[in-house]
């Protein structure tokens, strides 16, 4: 029976959202290809997590060791290599996350498994797996083929590409996998987690976010954005380039490498909408985007759009809101 193997991610005792997303796609692919879905959980003291995962797969493989307590690409690579050799899955799914990016390329290279990274869609045509991924900051999509026929393929999955709800209850068994480590991995030691310096503003708690991107042009244009945010009872957030330039502190950054937010209202000012950003705010209830470029990808995720220069729109908006509030 062919197998689709999915690597589960967890951190500080919590399962990560990508797991259900990958399992949901895994279920769909397993059904289409008449395969079984197998989740792999590596860690230490993660048995209770396995109980949660097993609901959605035919097999849940769990391997526990001190070396696996925190994610570390090298021991993870060794255990997965072993599992892949033993079980010969047809497809291995890993999240395109900080962990996945550290692990998948090295694993694929050492095991000789063709790898397609950062895919937002996976189709199956006959017995061919077709990954789809984006290029040029989201301006182009690409259908990718694996160059050679191989017994196993690996795909890393873009966060937020697949639903995390509506999974079938399969309730397979949990199997413990024994692996004998012959290394202690002292050459790559996990030391500790480092929390972002808290400046007192937690954008994940805000109901309203007024977010600025490269289009803000200059930090001296920020005050009018702050004014709009404060009029709406919200907080200013930003995309990566603004945080990289230190125009706003890193804690305000929304996106895959920043925070994921789900406010009632998200106003995107001068943000192009490259995937790394939209992944962090797609879930907002109402998204209003302002951008000079009518083709900016942000308009694909926004509910309302204004094609104009934010430097012209914001002052007019501030005035209108003040007027409406004063009324």
């Amino acid at each position: 029976m062919a197998e689709i193997m999915v690597l589960m991610e967890h951190r500080q005792g919590e399962m990560r959202d990508i797991n259900l997303e990958m399992l949901s796609k895994g279920q769909e692919l397993a059904e289409k290809t008449k395969a079984e879905l197998t989740a792999v959980l590596l860690g230490k003291g993660v048995a209770s997590m396995a109980d949660n995962i097993k609901r959605f797969c035919h097999h849940t493989l769990i391997c526990e060791d001190e070396r696996l307590a925190q994610f570390n690409s090298d021991p993870y690579q060794d255990v997965l290599s072993f599992m892949i050799k033993e079980r010969k899955p047809a497809l291995v799914l890993i999240g395109q996350t900080a962990c996945g990016m550290d692990l998948a390329p090295a694993l694929a290279t050492s095991a000789g498994i063709p790898l397609a990274t950062d895919c937002y869609q996976i189709e199956v045509k006959g017995d061919t797996v077709l990954p789809f991924r984006q290029m040029y900051g989201g301006k182009m999509s690409a259908e990718v083929h694996f160059a050679k026929k191989a017994p196993c393929y690996m795909i890393t999955v873009r966060v937020g590409s697949f639903p995390s709800e509506g999974l079938r209850e399969i309730n397979g068994a949990v199997e413990k996998v024994a692996f004998t480590f012959d290394k202690d991995y002292a050459y790559k030691k996990f030391l500790q987690y480092v929390e972002a310096a808290v400046g007192g503003v937690d954008i994940t708690q805000a109901d309203v976010l007024v977010s600025v991107g490269r289009g803000i042009g200059d930090p001296e244009n920020l005050p009018m954005v702050e004014e709009l945010a404060s009029l709406l009872g919200g907080v200013v957030s930003c995309s990566r380039p603004v945080a990289d330039k230190n125009w706003l502190p890193k804690e305000r950054q929304v996106g895959t490498s920043g925070k994921t937010v789900k406010p009632k209202l998200y106003i995107a000012l001068g943000i192009s909408g490259a995937f790394q950003h939209t992944a962090g705010m797609k879930g907002a209830t109402t998204i209003i985007a302002v951008n000079k470029d009518p083709k900016a990808p942000i308009f694909n995720v926004a509910h309302y759009g204004i094609v104009d220069d934010l430097l012209k729109v914001v002052p007019g908006l501030v005035a209108k809101v003040k007027e409406r509030k004063g009324a």
Binding site: D102, A106, T109, S141, K189
Partner: protein, 262 residues
Amino acid sequence: MDIIVCIKRVPEVAEIDLQVDQTGKGIKTEGLVFCVNDWDNYAIEEAVRIKEKHGGTVTAITVGSEESEDVLRRALALGADEAVMITDQKTEGSDAYATAKILAAAIKNIPYTIILAGALADDDGYAQVGASLAELLGIPHATLVTNMEIGEKRVKVRRELEGGLEEALDVETPAVFTIQSGINEPRYVSIMGIRRVAKKEIKKLDLGAMGLAPDQVGTTGSFIVVERIFTPPVGEGAQLLQGSPDEVATKVTDIFQKGGVI
């Protein structure tokens, strides 16, 4: 402290309308401006800073065509000491895996303590070369590095995770680190600076010089090939608010009011 930095020449596409070319597998590049991949720029800056603090040499290396000389010259002007260009038509069509193989073949003959590369590239965004390269060279790696503290035989790094969280790792050298943007503020490279290094030698390597067979590179040596590219379907997209600035401002304020925000 000898550092190798892997860099890539990519097109700048920020505000450009991209079009699919005749082959259907690439974009039309006419009129596009090319420059060093943003993440690689942070990597070169980091390498030069490490050199300025700890001594040693920085070698910039790229897999490309004659035009890639531009990015190597700029790296030299920024502070790299040596530049190596791997140029061979047979490398065309190489994906990230094949590119890692090419780099590994060139690098095994260059002394190094640390190899830096950008975490991913502006054009294809594979985020693969660095970690694959480490595997091929048999050395440890850490990706998405936001901070580096150089020690005797080890490097302490911070890696960017999600949600503002980072992890601190202690890695033995030699090792590969892929650099996340924002790790530093890259310095400006002036025109005169680039002119000053115009005559510096750029070592050129082809497959033969590196002992690579043609079937190990190009599409034959790759894991994946791009079958076709296309502009993403716009989907339902946003409801565009039209009208005079005043009318638009009114419509937006109505939305605010309806949503209970004001």
